[in-house]
């Protein structure tokens, strides 16, 4: 089989992995070597689905011994199979890198022969890249659940990021769709990578020459919409992954129907809006000081698809608003809908030298579309006729403005669910 066909088969099955990030590592090039990592990460292209290409995201092989129902590579699926030789893979990576097509390699694999056999192949590939070809660009490798500790630890010395995909957010869902995998087999390598990273960080304090171990951190992926798990369950899981397993990122992947097994839901397209809301909430956990309990609870276990999670929280907590821009501390500003990390930093910096009014905020590049319902400047609301102050009207305004902007983008909605205010005589 020629390289062209192999690429087709092995990239096709890798594309549902959403992670393509090349950030978080500052690996330097060595003398006469090729490649380095950029801490900010660099995107090299964008595909027609709008996703960034940073890494060459590819499987070593798609021959698989497992039969997970949600996966294109399940052993019972009749798809063409292929495997790279290590030489082919190394050659491809280097030639793409030299042309500046990519920032590095994201190497994954189906489980071929056994977890140990597969992990060994992955290790050999990255070792060849680092030691023989002197490649110092970004490498992200999948840890194969069930592989031995020694192999996973050894691999960690050569790569910038490692990940284990959880895919299904609960034990029940695993049983239903991936009966050959267990929760334990997934969690074990995550714990191993975590302690490797911690050990490295501690030793580095003592010995500067400590060899790196997964400097870009650990990540994982959860599939959204293939099972009945609600947003609260997913978000709680992410929260504990960030706190207990020190993960760098959790990715969410809207389930793209790749099979019509009776255990899977019949859906027309991937639940993109739901995925988007989870990402927004994930950001709120990591950078905005929110916890999952503030965003969702047992009575409301799913996000309002129409309203972003922060606006939703603000409307439920109107007693905390309006916030005076010139006085509120940084973390209070971060909780204002429409004000992000950059905006909050600018406000804090800008008000050091003068009191800010709404015109100033605009000059600082702060978007007032959402924020204007929740802030005052020098004690005054935004100068516009009737800024509403009750929950129902604010919500209606936000929905209205969103809908005007995104007309056609949102799935079809009934007029009444969009404007409940009409029924209440609020509008």
């Amino acid at each position: 089989m020629n390289l062209n066909e192999k690429i087709k088969i092995l990239s096709d099955s890798a594309k549902y992995d959403v992670s393509c990030s090349s950030s978080g590592s500052s690996r330097k090039n060595k003398k006469g070597g090729i490649g380095n990592a950029a801490p900010s990460g660099i995107c090299h292209s964008w595909t027609p689905d709008g996703r960034c290409i940073s890494l060459l995201k590819i499987l070593l092989t798609n021959y698989c011994i497992y039969d997970c129902k949600y996966c294109v590579n399940r052993s019972s699926n009749d798809v063409p199979r292929a495997a790279f030789t290590i030489d082919e893979l190394v050659n491809l990576t280097i030639n793409f890198y030299r042309r500046n097509y990519i920032e590095g390699l994201f190497l994954s694999s189906a489980v071929c022969v056994s977890p140990d056999h597969t992990m060994e192949l992955l290790l050999k590939s990255v070792k060849r890249l680092r030691e023989e070809v002197n490649f110092n660009g970004y490498i992200h490798v999948k840890a194969i659940p069930g592989a031995s500790n020694k192999l996973i630890e050894e691999t960690g010395k050569y790569v910038d990021r490692m990940s284990v995909n959880i895919e299904l957010p609960s034990g029940e869902s695993l049983k239903l769709l991936a009966p050959q995998k267990t929760k334990e087999s997934i969690i074990k390598p995550m714990g191993l990578i975590k302690s490797g990273i911690i050990q490295y960080q501690e030793e580095k304090l003592k010995f500067k020459s400590t060899p790196q171990f997964v400097p870009g951190g650990q990540s994982t992926q959860l599939i959204v919409g293939a099972t009945k798990d609600n947003d609260l369950k997913i978000l709680k899981l992410s929260e504990s992954l960030y706190s207990s397993y020190k993960l760098k990122r959790v990715y969410y992947s809207a389930y793209v129907p790749v099979s019509n097994h009776p255990n899977l839901p019949a859906i027309s397209g991937p639940p993109l809006l739901r995925e988007h809301r989870l990402y927004q909430a994930d950001w709120l956990l990591r950078f905005y000081g929110f916890n999952s309990g503030e965003l969702l609870n047992e009575e409301n276990p799913n996000f309002d698809e129409l309203l972003d999670p922060k606006s939703g929280w603000a409307i439920r907590n109107l007693d905390k608003f309006p916030v005076e821009v010139n006085k509120a501390d940084y973390y209070t500003l971060l909780r204002v809908p429409g004000i992000g990390v950059k905006s909050a930093q600018r406000i804090v910096q800008g008000r050091r030298v003068s009191m800010l009014d709404f015109d100033d905020l605009k000059k600082l590049g702060i978007v007032l579309k959402r924020a204007k319902y929740f802030i005052t400047c020098k004690g005054r609301y935004f100068p516009q006729k009737s800024i509403p102050t009750n929950a129902v009207s604010i919500k209606n305004r936000l929905l209205l403005e969103d809908n005007i902007k995104n007309r056609g983008n949102i799935e079809q909605l009934s007029i009444f669910s969009l404007f409940p205010g009409i029924m209440d005589g609020e509008f």
Partner: protein, 245 residues
């Protein structure tokens, strides 16, 4: 209307700043000679570039304002915006007055005008670090043509020299007819005159095909969103992208 006209170099611009300060002039515009169009209302002062004056301004900015301010006016200059020259003068006047806190005045137009230009240039620089595409030529030189909107190429020399430290390369700004060269030891800039056709290495098209194949394949068809794609990667940059041809 008083116009300062300089030779287009950064040294020339800094010399103009120096002269405006010491002649106590308040020019309406500071423009490079190439983009200057005369009319009879304009009184012109031609600036003679002097490295000594330029260095004095440079040192004063570092000493009395900040390193960040120096980088800021450099980026603003590279934006080639028609008002860049005068914006830089106004920003520096303000900066010399308030000192290192100048960049806290985010809502002040003098600061804001510079910041807007800096953002544009910095954004393009980061984008180009990703979307420059090298082609291997028959003589084993990696060659990348590109037409940046701003004059950002000179900001990328170090990035690529660090990264591709064992390959000879040229990045060619086709619009401005100059390039960044790297010879495995150091990088430098030089004018480029193209008088010969480019001859590709015999393997080049093979890898271009593989890349295109990969690009087409990695797209998830049920998530197609071309608008999002061109938001991230504006169409004006597609001309030299292998995968967009």
């Amino acid at each position: 209307m008083l116009y300062y006209i300089y030779d287009g170099s950064f040294d020339g611009l800094l010399t103009a700043i120096y002269d405006a300060y010491y002649n106590k002039d308040f020019p309406e515009q500071i423009v490079p000679q190439d983009s200057f169009t005369d009319n009879f209302l304009i009184s012109k002062v031609y600036i003679r570039t002097e490295e000594e004056k330029s260095k004095k301004v440079h040192d004063a900015v570092l000493q009395k304002i900040s390193r960040r301010a120096m980088a800021g006016i450099m980026y603003a200059y590279l934006s080639e915006d028609e008002n860049a020259g005068i914006s830089i003068l106004e920003y520096l006047r303000f900066g010399f007055k308030v000192g290192r806190t100048v960049d806290s005045y985010l809502a002040d137009d003098r600061v804001n005008n510079i910041n807007r230009l800096v953002t544009k240039v910095a954004r393009e620089k980061h984008l180009l670090a990703g979307i420059i595409r090298f082609r291997l030529l028959h003589n084993n030189i990696y060659y990348a043509p590109i037409e940046p909107q701003y004059n950002t190429l000179c900001l990328l020399g170090k990035h690529f020299a660090d990264r591709m430290s064992d390959q000879i390369f040229v990045i060619h700004d086709v619009k401005r007819s100059y390039g960044v060269f790297y010879d495995k030891t150091k990088w430098f800039m030089s004018d480029i005159e193209m008088n010969k056709d480019i001859v590709l290495h015999e393997n080049e098209l093979f890898y271009q095909e593989l890349w295109k194949r990969y690009f087409d394949n990695i797209t998830i068809k049920s998530r197609i969103n071309p608008k999002l794609q061109s938001n991230h990667m504006p169409k004006k940059y597609w001309k030299y992208l292998i995968e967009m041809k």
